[in-house]
């Protein structure tokens, strides 16, 4: 604006329509911008080799740990369970990426970049921004899943036949599982908003606890019944079971089996694809709605307590 030009009347400057927003268009744009930002931050590598190590070595090492455990104890007989543990381990790296992604975005923006308060006061929906920021980490996590499965097939003797894969089931459970993971990530984000100490390890610790109850690397039937019940209420359990069932139909499952709580409640040993999808949908919806409620509550509490621009650390 020229310093010499006379200012227009004040009434002419204010556009009331700006306060209305543009509904879904704004949401989509916010999501796109946040996703791009998340990717730029996540992929800001000066050394691609390090990026490769980070995104590949972590999930592959997790799988190798389990494979060696099987080999050490089970020997050749244990190899039948390799697909079980490799799939579970590969998927778990995706879970960790998703749960940590949203929570770490909060911590980075509050503690490191100090922009969290500016994001919160912007007209963009905070929830949408967070989810967009988390997408990049989910992308890296997905790459880890694929690479681990490929390594499992190529190097670890996991028998994989694309011809028997139930692709529609795989697609459906993947989409629903993704939503559940994002929901759990939102839950974690709501928690770290409240913690005053730098809590970078909390998401992984939370994921580690879920690791026990979701049948990721061993059948749920080994757990006490109350713990199995907890697992059956968790959408991740059904997601992992669904992916296993889709990739290796008829192979060892994590939910059912002899002596499992599932078998005693539902009267048959293992769930079919339809049951898995149904249970995943039901548990996923409940968890996601609960996570959104927790997040909104946490957001309100953070505004009341002025937590968005307080840094902490020790």
């Amino acid at each position: 604006m020229s310093a010499l030009a006379p200012a227009p009347p004040a009434a002419a400057l204010f556009d009331a329509a700006r306060t209305e927003g543009r509904g879904i268009a704004d949401t989509l744009r916010t999501f796109a911008v946040a996703t791009r930002l998340g990717w730029q931050l996540e992929a800001n590598w000066t050394d691609p080799f390090l990026f490769f190590i980070y995104s590949v070595a972590k999930p592959v090492s997790s799988a190798l740990i389990l494979v060696v455990m099987l080999e050490v104890i089970g020997g050749p007989a244990g190899r039948a369970f390799r697909p079980f543990v490799v799939v579970g381990s590969a998927l778990w790296s995706f879970v960790v990426s998703g749960i940590a992604g949203l929570a770490w975005s909060i911590l980075e923006d509050r503690e490191r970049y100090r922009v969290l308060k500016y994001v919160v006061i912007s007209p963009s929906d905070f929830l949408t921004v967070l989810i967009g920021r988390g997408v990049a980490r989910l992308g890296v996590g997905l790459a880890g899943v694929v690479i681990t499965l490929v390594v499992g097939v190529v190097a670890l003797g996991v028998p994989f036949d694309p011809g028997v894969v139930d692709w529609p089931v795989l697609l459906v459970v993947s989409v629903m599982g993704l939503a559940s993971i994002v929901g759990l990530g939102l839950l974690m984000a709501g928690i770290v908003i409240q913690t005053r100490q730098e809590s970078w390890s909390y998401p992984e610790a939370f994921a580690g606890a879920l690791f026990l109850v979701t049948g990721a690397v061993f059948p749920l039937a080994l757990l006490p019944a109350p713990v199995q019940a907890l697992g059956l209420l968790t959408p991740l359990t059904w997601w992992i079971a669904g992916v296993r069932e889709a990739l290796f139909p008829g192979g060892p499952g994590s939910v059912g089996g002899e002596g499992s709580l599932y078998a005693s409640v539902f009267g048959h040993a293992n769930p079919g694809s339809a049951e898995i999808i149904g249970a995943l949908l039901a548990s996923g919806v409940v968890v996601t709605l609960a996570a959104v409620a927790v997040f909104r509550r946490s957001d309100r509490r953070a505004r009341q307590a002025g937590l968005y621009d307080q840094t902490s650390g020790s």
């Binding site: 590598w45 972590k58 455990m69 050490v72 244990g78 005053r196 610790a205 939370f206 690397v217 757990l223």
Partner: protein, 295 residues
């Protein structure tokens, strides 16, 4: 009110004398700096109690998952003990990675780093103070995992040589934290890459260290690990001593030799840390990285 420091305005004392500290003064300052830097860590634990859940109970559950994997395989009971011991020691490795190696990157972004360098103590004192403060949390976590898991999963320890067991517990800590100091100085220069490197140093190190199984099962790779990774050496020695009755695969040295390896690792890592910190500080001063926030 007692007089403040005797540094200014005394007859015969000028700035050049004031800058000339005795060796005793230097050592005392370094020791006090260790205490000073450990202080916020310990205070932080008391004021933010959520760590009890997230740093102790939940990791215990994660360790339990591997216990159940062995149960699914009908593994011998000592393997449950191996996993429990491994799970306990991850606390220290995570402390080294996240509370030391990566800490300087966070300190720089907060503006604390340049204040530390502008102060007269040796920077290793700061890192050591961080380590000590973090050790409180790590030790609590390790002890909790051992006690609870031991009780819940019926782990029976059979120890013949307590002194040696204590040694192979303390020595890896020295070596680990020395390694943490080395990583801290590297991460100071690497900047943002450091965080990703920290991430990359968790599961891969767990694997090659035999966190859930005797590292001898990895053959030559296991032998290399015992030679170069304090976590692997310490864990293997502790397992051999804590479960003296168990059958171990051949391929790793006896605990007595591993103690010597750990002692050498401790000396090497601390000497290397000192050298690297000096070199990295000089480089950071040359490149102006002590106070740049984002790199």
């Amino acid at each position: 009110m007692a007089a403040p420091l005797d540094l200014i305005g005394r007859s015969g004392t000028g700035p050049r004398q004031a800058a000339d500290w005795s060796r005793r003064q230097v050592i005392l300052t370094d020791l006090r700096s260790v205490r000073g830097r450990a202080y916020p860590r310990v205070i932080g634990l008391m004021r933010e109690p959520s760590w009890v859940l997230f740093e102790i109970l939940l990791p215990f559950l994660a360790t339990s998952a591997f216990v159940f994997v062995y149960r699914a395989l009908d593994a011998p009971q000592e393997y449950v003990g191996f996993v429990v011991l491994g799970g306990a020691l991850t606390a220290f490795w995570l402390n080294v990675i996240w509370m030391m190696a990566n800490q300087l990157y966070w300190e720089k972004s907060q503006g604390n780093l340049e204040l530390y360098f502008a102060a007269p103590m040796h920077f290793m004192s700061i890192l050591f103070g961080m380590a000590l403060g973090g050790m409180v949390m790590s030790s609590t976590r390790a002890a909790t995992v051992l006690v609870i898991a031991g009780a819940v999963y019926g782990v029976a320890f059979s120890v013949d040589q307590w002194a040696l067991l204590l040694g192979v517990f303390v020595l890896p800590l020295g070596a680990l934290y020395g390694l943490g100091m080395v990583l801290a100085s590297l991460f100071l220069v690497w900047g943002r890459e450091a965080w990703h490197m920290g991430q990359a140093l968790t599961e891969p190190v767990y694997f090659v260290s035999g966190l859930n199984f005797p590292v001898a099962h990895l053959g030559f790779l296991g032998a290399l690990s015992v030679a170069f990774i304090p976590l692997a050496t310490g864990l293997d020695a502790m397992r051999q001593l804590a479960f003296a009755d168990a059958a171990f695969p051949a391929g790793t040295p006896p605990p007595g030799v591993e103690v010597l390896i750990l002692a050498a690792m401790t000396v090497v890592s601390i000497v290397a840390a000192r050298g690297m910190l000096i070199a990295m500080e000089r480089r950071a001063r040359r490149d102006g990285r002590l106070s740049v926030r984002w790199q």
